[in-house]
Amino acid sequence: MFKKYLLYILISGVCIAGIAFPIVKVPQHWWEYPLIPGLEENAKIIFFHVPTAWISVIAFFMSAYFGFRYLRSRDMAFDAKALAANQLGMVFCVLATVTGSVWAKFNWGSFWNWDPRETSIFILLLIYGALFALRSAVEVEEKRATLSAAYSLIAFVTVPFLIFIMPRIMTGLHPGSADDETSGPVIDFKMNMNMRMVFYLSLTAFTLLYSWMWSIGYRSILIKEKIFQNKELK
C-alpha cells in the first residue's frame, strides 16, 4: 500500500519536473535547466523517451529469460510471467516509438528516418507483434508456451546486434551513432546536475511502475487460467 503511494508521488514528481521546469540559458535556481545548444526545449523528452525505450528492452529480456526458465522446468507460471512481460513490453515499445517520432519531428524535421536506432526499435515492435501473432495461432497451451519461449529466445540472440552494435557501426541521426562526437547516447550527455538527477529519478520511477504492473499482470493471468480450469471441471 505504502509502495503504491510512493510510486504515485515519484511519478507525478517526475512528470512535473520533466515538463514544467523551464530551460534557461543560465540557471539561477535549482529548478531550472541549462540550455543545451542543438536541443533547446526538446531536451525534456529525454525524461520520457529513454526510460520507455529502456523498459521495453528490459521487458524483452525478461520475456526471453522466463521463456528459458519455462523450457527448463515446464512450469506454466513462467509462461504467465513471460506473457505479462510481453504485454507490457509492447505498450512501452509503442510509447518509446511515438515519443521518439515526436522528438524526431521537432529535432530533425520528419517523423521517421530509418536511422539505425529507429529501425531497431521498430524491429522490437515487430518482434512483440510476432510473439502475439504466434500465441494466437497455437491452441494447445503447452505447445503455445514452448513455441513462444523458443521464438523469444531466438529473437533475443538477434537483439544485441540491433540495439548495441548496429547503431554504433552505421551512420545515423541518433546521438551515439558512428558520426557523432558525443561518446554515448545518454550518460555523457553534458547534462547538468539537477537534470541528471531528474533523469535518474525518471528511470527509477518508470522501472518501479513497470515492475508493479508486471507483477499484477502475471498474477492476473495465472488467476484467469485457474478460473478457466475450474469452469471446465464444473
Binding site: L71, T119, I123, L124, L126, I127, G129, A130, A133, L134, A137, V138, E139, K143, T146, L147, A149, A150, Y151, L153, I154, A155, V157, T158, F161, L162, I165, M166, I169, M170
Partner: protein, 217 residues
C-alpha cells in the same frame, strides 16, 4: 544428416513443383520491378537493395516447405522416431541452404542481366556477403519454419515471424551490396563482414540448441 538431405532433395526433384514455382516467383517479381521502372534508371544504391527484396520474398515463399511439407504429408512422427533432433535439423538446414543458394544464384543472374545499373565494382565483397548471407537466411528461416509447422495459420505467420529475425541480416547485406557497388575493398568492409559471420554463427547455434524443444511434443 546427409541421408535426410538426399531424401528431401530427391522428393523435391521428383515433382519439381516447388522449384518451378519458386523460379516463376523470381521471374515475376523481377518483371514487376522492371515494369515499374520502365523509363527511369534506378540509382545504384536502390538496385542493390531491390535484389535483396526479391531474395527475401523468395525465401519466404520457399523455405517453410522444409517442415510444413512433413506436416502435410503426415510424416512428422516417423521422422521424430527414426532420427535424433539435431540430425533432423541438420538435414533440413542443409537442404534449405542448398535451396536458397540456388534460388539466390538464379535471382542474381536474372537481376544482373536485366538491371543496367547493377554493376559491382568489388565483386569479392559482394560474393562473400552473398555466400555468408545465404547461410544466414537459411539458418533463421529453417528454425522459424520448424516453429510455425505446429501453428495454425502457417502461411501468413511465416513472414511475420521471420521478418524481425532476418531484418538485421538483410540490413547488413544491403549495406555490403551498396559498399561493393561503390567499390570498397574487403578490408574496409571487414567490420560488416565480421558482423555477418557472427550473425550466422549465433543464429545457427541458437537454432540447434532450441530445435529439440520445438520438435518434440
Amino acid at each position: 544428416m546427409f541421408a535426410l538431405f538426399r531424401k528431401d532433395s530427391a522428393s523435391e526433384l521428383r515433382t519439381r513443383y516447388a522449384l518451378n514455382s519458386l523460379i516463376m516467383f523470381i521471374v515475376v517479381t523481377i518483371s514487376v520491378i522492371l515494369f515499374s521502372s520502365v523509363n527511369e534508371t534506378l540509382p545504384e544504391s536502390l538496385t542493390g537493395g531491390l535484389l535483396w527484396v526479391v531474395v527475401f520474398f523468395t525465401a519466404m515463399s520457399g523455405l517453410s516447405r522444409a517442415f510444413v511439407s512433413e506436416e502435410e504429408r503426415g510424416t512428422t512422427l516417423t521422422l521424430q522416431l527414426i532420427a535424433k533432433a539435431e540430425v533432423v535439423f541438420g538435414g533440413k538446414l542443409i537442404f534449405n541452404t542448398v535451396l536458397i543458394f540456388c534460388m539466390n544464384l538464379v535471382t542474381l543472374a536474372f537481376y544482373a542481366l536485366v538491371m543496367d545499373s547493377f554493376v559491382l565494382r568489388t565483386p569479392s565483397v559482394f560474393f562473400l556477403a552473398f555466400g555468408i548471407g545465404s547461410i544466414g537466411i537459411s539458418g533463421a528461416s529453417t528454425v522459424i519454419a520448424a516453429i510455425i509447422a505446429k501453428a495454425n495459420s502457417k502461411g501468413t505467420l511465416y513472414p511475420v515471424l521471420s521478418f524481425p529475425i532476418l531484418l538485421p541480416l538483410f540490413l547488413l547485406l544491403i549495406d555490403l551490396t551498396k559498399l561493393s557497388i561503390e567499390g570498397t575493398t574487403p578490408d574496409a568492409a571487414f567490420v560488416e563482414l565480421a558482423a555477418l559471420v557472427s550473425y550466422d554463427v549465433v543464429i545457427i547455434t541458437a537454432s540447434f540448441l532450441l530445435f529439440d524443444f520445438i520438435w518434440k511434443d
